[in-house]
Symmetry: C2
Subunit: 472 residues, 2 copies
């Protein structure tokens, strides 16, 4: 019974250990005997289900359709696009035997499904009337990572991958940016995580993409996390896979394609942006349980009746509510729901009842408020929590975003306080690599703001304003 009350590692002492303590003690995941693969426990999976539900609706509102592609990719198919195969082949799992037979061609377990979508599109797209194709798939993918970490980097993870085909480059670019916006909006409004939108450098872009856009968020420890990406493929894949259509003038044309994805990694972001030394902190808009109702005693029927009345009221407002009537102690329950990051706790005991009131405890601020039973607005408190979490995360990011004029400054800032460094860049790969070698920071993204000075590395005129950071 002591597992929740047991303290977790202090986040300021050992952030990595604090993180793994949370994923275990908030009952998000468990390990299995398969190296690097995690078990998503009910509470962890419930967060993923909420992510799916909200994003899936956004995808459908923007006319995307869900499909399901095979789990396997034949080696020859993976090899069709040169850059793509070079990017992924070193990290795939290979099926070589089926039943008792050796396969004539080995199959990889999909690390991503561009090649399968392209093959399918080549089959089903004939005319401009067939375009655009706006497909999405929810599935798991496998990447043979050497070091793994729950949610952030695992051999297998759950994600969605959108794959679209268009008649023009411009339409593909629009789609790429539209999906980036949907991701950014989702992170900010639902997960209460502020993000920087930008473009990846040539060196950091997706294998096979013409351009990769990204949303980058800043974790509590000052490291950045790539939280979603959206790629414009131009007609590169179309040429490799021969995806052509006849246009209105009856001429053959290649399609322009995009792909975009987010994954269970977002759960890692939630933990590392909002969590504290009492455990997980969930923004109300994503929390599987928004409000936990805890009777101080389960032995007095009038207390239980009042708790049930509160539950009925909250459920009628469509708030995700859990009334805990188990025989554990109230104190134990407080710690449990704190550890699990439930945004709001309502405590009710005999003394509250005498005053016809209940005690409301906010997870984000630990603030306790007494409110009359007949006159409280839980929705309003949840909205305030949601806003406060976003504001706090934004303030933290602002506080940890610095400007650097040259490499020495950049190095010095990063050695003191990790965070985002905004610094100009000439666009030369050597400078990008030099920054990485000297400081450990990579170019997280090229800002949509213009460059305004000299390259942080070589001092030549800058092409881009770049957000640099150490990252997960």
């Amino acid at each position: 019974m002591k597992k929740y009350v047991e303290a977790i590692t202090d986040m300021d002492k050992d952030f990595a250990l604090w993180y793994t303590d949370i994923v275990k003690k908030a009952e998000l995941i468990d390990y299995s005997s398969v190296r690097g693969c995690m078990i998503l426990k009910p509470y962890g999976y419930a967060i993923w289900e909420r992510i799916q539900k909200i994003l899936d609706q956004k995808f459908k509102e923007t006319n995307h359709e869900n499909v399901y592609m095979p789990i396997f990719i034949p080696e020859s198919l993976l090899q069709k696009e040169k850059e793509h195969v070079e990017g992924f082949a070193p990290e795939v799992a290979w099926v070589t035997h089926g039943g008792n037979e050796k396969l004539t061609e080995k199959l990889c377990v999909r690390p991503t499904s561009e090649t399968l979508f392209c093959e399918h599109y080549a089959n089903i797209i004939q005319s401009y009337r067939d375009l655009p194709k706006l497909y999405n798939q929810w599935c798991s993918v496998v990447r043979w990572e050497k070091t793994t970490r729950p949610f952030l980097r695992s051999l297998e993870f759950l994600w969605q991958e959108g794959h679209t085909a268009h008649t023009t480059f411009e339409e593909a670019e629009q789609e790429t940016l539209k999906m980036l916006d949907i991701y950014a909006d989702f992170c900010e409004k639902i997960l209460a995580i502020p993000v920087i939108k930008g473009k990846k450098t040539e060196n950091e872009k997706f294998a096979g993409a013409l351009s990769t856009y990204t949303i980058e968020s800043l974790m509590h420890d000052g490291r950045a996390l790539q939280s979603g990406t959206s790629h414009n493929f131009g007609d590169g894949f179309a040429k490799a896979f021969d995806i052509q259509y006849t246009d209105k003038q009856n001429k053959l044309q290649y399609v322009y394609q995009t792909s975009w994805g987010i994954s269970t990694r977002l759960i890692g972001a939630i933990i590392m942006v909002h969590g504290d030394n009492n455990g997980l902190v969930l923004p109300p808009n994503i929390a599987p349980i928004q409000i936990a109702i805890i009777p101080i005693t389960t032995k007095k029927s009038e207390v239980i009746d009042a708790a049930k009345m509160i539950e009925a009221k909250l459920k009628s407002q469509n708030l995700r509510t859990k009334l805990d009537l188990t025989d554990k102690s109230a104190g134990w329950k407080f710690s449990e729901y704190e550890m699990k990051g439930v945004p709001l706790r309502i405590e009710i005991g005999p003394r509250d009842l005498e005053n016809n009131s209940a005690t409301f405890v906010r997870r984000d601020t630990n603030e306790k408020i007494t409110l009359p039973l007949n006159n409280f607005d839980a929705k309003e408190i949840l909205d305030a929590i949601q806003k406060n979490l976003f504001d706090k995360a934004l303030a933290h990011r602002n506080k940890n975003t610095f400007n650097a004029e040259n490499l020495e400054q950049l190095e010095k800032i990063l050695s003191n306080t990790p965070g985002f460094i905004k610094a100009n860049w000439c666009g030369n790969l050597n400078c990008e690599l030099a920054v990485k070698e000297k400081t450990g920071a990579t170019a997280r993204c090229i800002s949509f703001e213009p460059a305004n000075g000299k390259c942080v590395c070589c001092g030549k005129n800058a092409q881009h304003l770049v957000y640099w950071a150490k990252s997960y």
Copy 2:
């Protein structure tokens, strides 16, 4: 433009070809370059999404929680339960290489996840307070089948697998039967497919189960389809995986387990129970589109306005509606929505409008009704279609269910009209195998009704009343 209008194979001439025509022309699936793996296209996947949504809600209402287990099972873990590994090892896909390295232990791509759930349960179940565990998972599984057929038998398929652990055998048995009832209810009320509930023979039960329950349905061609199964494992897996808990008397006890599943195979059942020579026929309760609204002309604004008014009205009633304003001909659209099995079509043209009415065409009966625009009840028509489809399927099953007293009768009936044969059985494996060898029919299930005579094969006193049939 002719693909929909093009006739499909007559189902009475070649049922197998009719079936593959439908899956292709109703745009449910497409093939990929991976042998035996299918692509679920938007319309096929939308049916699966409806199946998921409705069943997932049922699972949650009965206190089940969703989780996600790894995609891989190490060889040693698969081998822990003897009967289970013998049942599955011959049909799994083996991953032998990860990245560029040969694995020290090969991993199979899950064919089913009993072993993973058992390993997890052994870790997380300590006390009677931890029980019951009621978990479910939605995922894809892989079985290395030699011959494959869309939805019915494929290398990879989508399914759900429930896995539960209980303190007593009786509780596990109750769970097993409860889930069987949920499946049966779903098939009958939502898919309009009548099912026979029963128990598998020892020879036909799941590898590792103590008893397997099944729902069996009869396809249009008289062959049976196993449509869902629910297994009681007793404490067999618990002993193999050492899943023990301390009971209230502080004594160590093994848990009792169940598992249960349904898959995309149900889409095959829908096709083969309700489909006709014009294509797919979908019961309204499962149809992604319940009503297609088709203006006879898209050139007259008053017709389009009226069509939009109908659409708004139906959507406000939460009916899944599609208004087709594309520039294809009305006739082409009629065929398309017929092929796709949309239950109800509303046609509206200038002449209808003059009479302030619209034409309603039922997919199940092809009946045309003219109804006033201000006074029609689409929901009522959909309910009538749902009921009629079930009644028709039940009548078909009743007409094709026969009794047989001996092997000659059984053989004769099956050679004339395939269907279910109810016949008594002594319980002896040799008799079961003899029936199969002579007639091609297998014991689909032991009926919950008692035996009432002599064994159809050996003439000795019967133990069970069995439904026999040729099956998919």
